[in-house]
């Protein structure tokens, strides 16, 4: 709206200035031009009108005269009335001012004119064919409407000017507002957005811009769709051989004896690792390219964290570790936010599973869930393990894809180095932050903060 206001006010002020100047100058101009017109009429037309009126009256009578005078009014916008010494001979109900002029003009026998605010009056003396004397009193009206400067006229002129300015400002600013909204929608992942229906119909430069915008959006949509298809194809095409490999592995297991089992176990683990990697890679690239169209559901974060902790605890028992949750007793309503539950689930799950992975046997991972008192409220999820931690200068890099602190150990523990990168992206998509820090008494602490819906 700022552009609209700018254009609107600029033009309105400019037009206001022009109108003011014009009105200040016009009266003198108007008077001059009015006098000139009167002279032209006086020298030519009015003389003829007066002569003709007198002749028609004497030859054809009062009715014909009235008809003639009405015709003159129609052609030249002159209200004319014919008088003789006894009064008006036309039957046009001459106004009092005309009667007065006729009386005074008649007595002096002179031609005169008189300027009045809305019109100019002239009195013309002629003689009819019979020699009888007549006076033609004419009111030459509406010569220059602006000549009489009344408040209502100024206001109506200003209103028209304001309307024009409003239209102009809207005409320029509206398509820009529309294109901005379209650009925003595209950046949110709605690649089918176009402005052709509203902006593209214009035949000016803004219309050109709108058409170019649509062309760009179309190109973007094609590219994104192609990349999305490619990603889906790659993950599908890579998984098909993996699926066959798994079945073949089971067949091999059945056909071979015990000595082969450890190697087959190894093959199975590696296949599983490949599969995880494919899944995480496609998820990460989907998020990085903004192609995950975020679902906007109401997510009960408290329940979600509880579920993930329960599952991770179940999984951690196999290495005799535990995962503990420390959260307010009733979390169902206190931790509500709008977003994609599955994305958030994998974000939190990745951090907790990572912590389990680095916690030694019989160790403990503690997860705390708290809520800030700020507005808007924020949820804090702290995941703390009792592992080796990470060298201070490398803390920021743990969220980079394929980042490893210690390659040999990490591979042993089964990570592929994408989990935390997915976490960071998913948390950012929900307007939150994630940070890693070493706890004072050893172990890594990952802190996720997510803005909550105001309750």
């Amino acid at each position: 709206m700022r552009l609209f206001l700018k254009i609107f006010l600029t033009f309105l002020i400019a037009m206001g200035a022009v109108i003011t100047v014009t009105l200040a100058v016009t009266p003198t101009l108007g008077q001059g031009s009015m006098t000139a017109r009167w002279r032209r009429l006086e020298n030519g037309a009015l003389g003829v009108y007066a002569q003709t009126a007198a002749e028609i009256y004497e030859r054809d009578g009062a009715d014909a005269l009235d008809a003639y005078l009405i015709r003159v009014n129609g052609i030249a916008s002159i209200h004319a009335y014919l008088f003789d010494r006894s009064g008006e001979v036309s039957h046009l109900a001459a106004p009092a001012h005309a009667v007065e002029l006729a009386r005074s003009g008649g007595s002096s026998g002179e031609i005169k004119f008189q300027l009045r605010p809305t019109a100019m009056w002239t009195v013309r003396q002629v003689a009819g064919p019979s020699g009888h004397e007549y006076l033609l009193v004419s009111e030459i009206s509406k010569l220059l409407p602006a000549f009489s400067v009344s408040a209502t006229r100024v206001l109506s002129v200003c209103a028209v000017a304001a309307l024009i300015c409003f239209w102009l400002a809207r005409h320029v600013s509206r398509p820009i507002v529309q294109m901005r909204a379209a650009a925003l929608r595209i950046s949110e992942g709605h690649f089918s957005t176009r402005v052709g229906k509203s902006v593209g119909r214009r035949r000016d430069e803004i219309g050109d811009l709108g058409r170019d915008f649509d062309q760009m959006a179309g190109r973007l949509e094609t590219l994104v769709a192609a990349q999305q298809r490619l990603l889906a194809d790659i993950s599908h095409e890579l998984r098909s051989p993996l699926t066959r490999l798994n079945v073949a592995l089971a067949l091999a297991r059945r056909a071979s004896g015990d000595p082969a089992q450890p190697a087959l176990d190894r093959i199975e683990r590696e296949a599983e690792r490949l599969n995880t990697l494919i899944g995480q890679l496609s998820m990460l690239s989907l998020m990085e390219s903004g192609m995950i169209v975020r679902r906007r559901d109401s997510v009960a974060l408290g329940d979600l964290v509880r579920e993930v902790v329960d599952d991770a605890d179940f999984e951690a028992r196999s290495v005799h570790s535990t995962v503990r949750l420390d959260a307010p007793p009733d979390t169902s309503d206190a931790f509500t936010l709008t977003g994609d539950a599955e994305l958030l689930r994998s974000a939190i799950e990745n951090v907790i599973r990572n912590a389990v992975r680095y916690t030694p046997e019989n160790g403990q991972v503690s997860v705390t869930l708290t809520r800030s008192q700020t507005t808007p409220p924020e949820a804090f999820i702290h995941v703390r393990d009792h592992g080796p931690g990470i060298p201070e200068p490398l803390l920021k890099e743990v969220f980079q894809p394929f980042y490893r602190v210690d390659p040999s150990r990490d591979r042993q523990s089964g990570g592929v180095g994408l989990g935390l990168a997915i976490t960071e992206h998913a948390v950012h998509l929900h307007g939150g932050r994630v940070e890693a820090a070493n706890a004072s008494d050893g172990g890594l602490e990952v802190a996720i903060s997510l803005p909550l819906a105001a309750s």
Partner: protein, 235 residues
């Protein structure tokens, strides 16, 4: 010998699975095309169907929809791993269980056996001595596998039927998720497995709210579910 219909466009995979399943007592027929798959699934010659979600042409969901429009034959969906949307959609349309690809064939055998056991067990009345279960306005005829609410039939898949049966039997008391998964899906509860929650949420949707507007099936966080009786209206 159990007869299995596999609808999957991966020809080699079908051959491998067939080779694996034969000694386990499953005779496998493979179809690589959706339209043909629907007609074979409705032929009545199979005991259950294994259906791939990622099928070219008709697509797994559409095939499932067409099968479900006519038949209650057990269907196991093969989904892309990690794709929750696939999972939710599949179970919503009426798949009995799902298996993420790449899958371990042992798991496939275990799940099909579980479903078979349950389907066969029902008429015999393994878990149900009473043929008619009624709680408030919901009535279940275990023998004919029909559910009525206010006398109007509710269309349930066989897994949903099983879940509801277990919940109705212990109406008013909590059933753990582990128990539900073991009884209704015939397998143990795995971490990060939400399929039982999907089935429950389908049941909620299909049954609608209770007469007093509350949820029929209540969640007990971290434990499981229970079917709530409407209190104090004599219903």
């Amino acid at each position: 010998m159990q007869r299995v219909l596999v609808i999957d466009d991966d020809v080699e995979l079908c051959e491998l699975v067939s080779e694996y399943l034969l000694p386990e007592g499953f005779l496998l027929e493979a179809v690589h095309d959706g339209v043909q798959g629907v007609s074979r699934a409705l032929s009545g010659e199979h005991d259950f169907v294994v259906l791939d979600v990622m099928l070219p042409g008709l697509g797994g969901f559409e095939i499932l929809r067409r099968i479900r429009a006519v038949s209650a034959i057990p269907v196991i969906m093969l989904t892309a791993r990690g794709d929750e949307i696939d999972l939710i959609m599949g179970l919503e349309i009426g798949a009995d269980d799902y298996l993420p690809k790449p899958f371990n064939p042992r798991e496939l055998v275990a799940r099909t056996r579980a479903i078979q056991r349950r389907v066969q067990a029902l008429p015999a009345g393994e878990v149900s001595q009473r043929p008619l279960l009624a709680v408030d306005d919901v009535e279940m005829d275990v023998q004919s596998m029909t559910v009525r609410r206010f006398g109007a039939a509710v269309d349930l898949t066989s897994v949903e039927f099983g879940v509801l049966e277990i919940l109705l039997q212990s109406a008013g008391s909590v059933v753990t998720r582990e128990h539900l998964v073991r009884k209704a899906l015939g397998r143990r509860l795995l971490p990060y497995d939400r399929s039982i929650d999907m089935h429950v949420s389908n049941l909620r949707r299909k049954l609608g709210a209770a007469r007093d507007g509350s949820e029929r099936i209540k969640t007990v966080r971290g434990v499981g579910y229970f079917y709530a009786r409407v209190v104090g209206n004599g219903g």
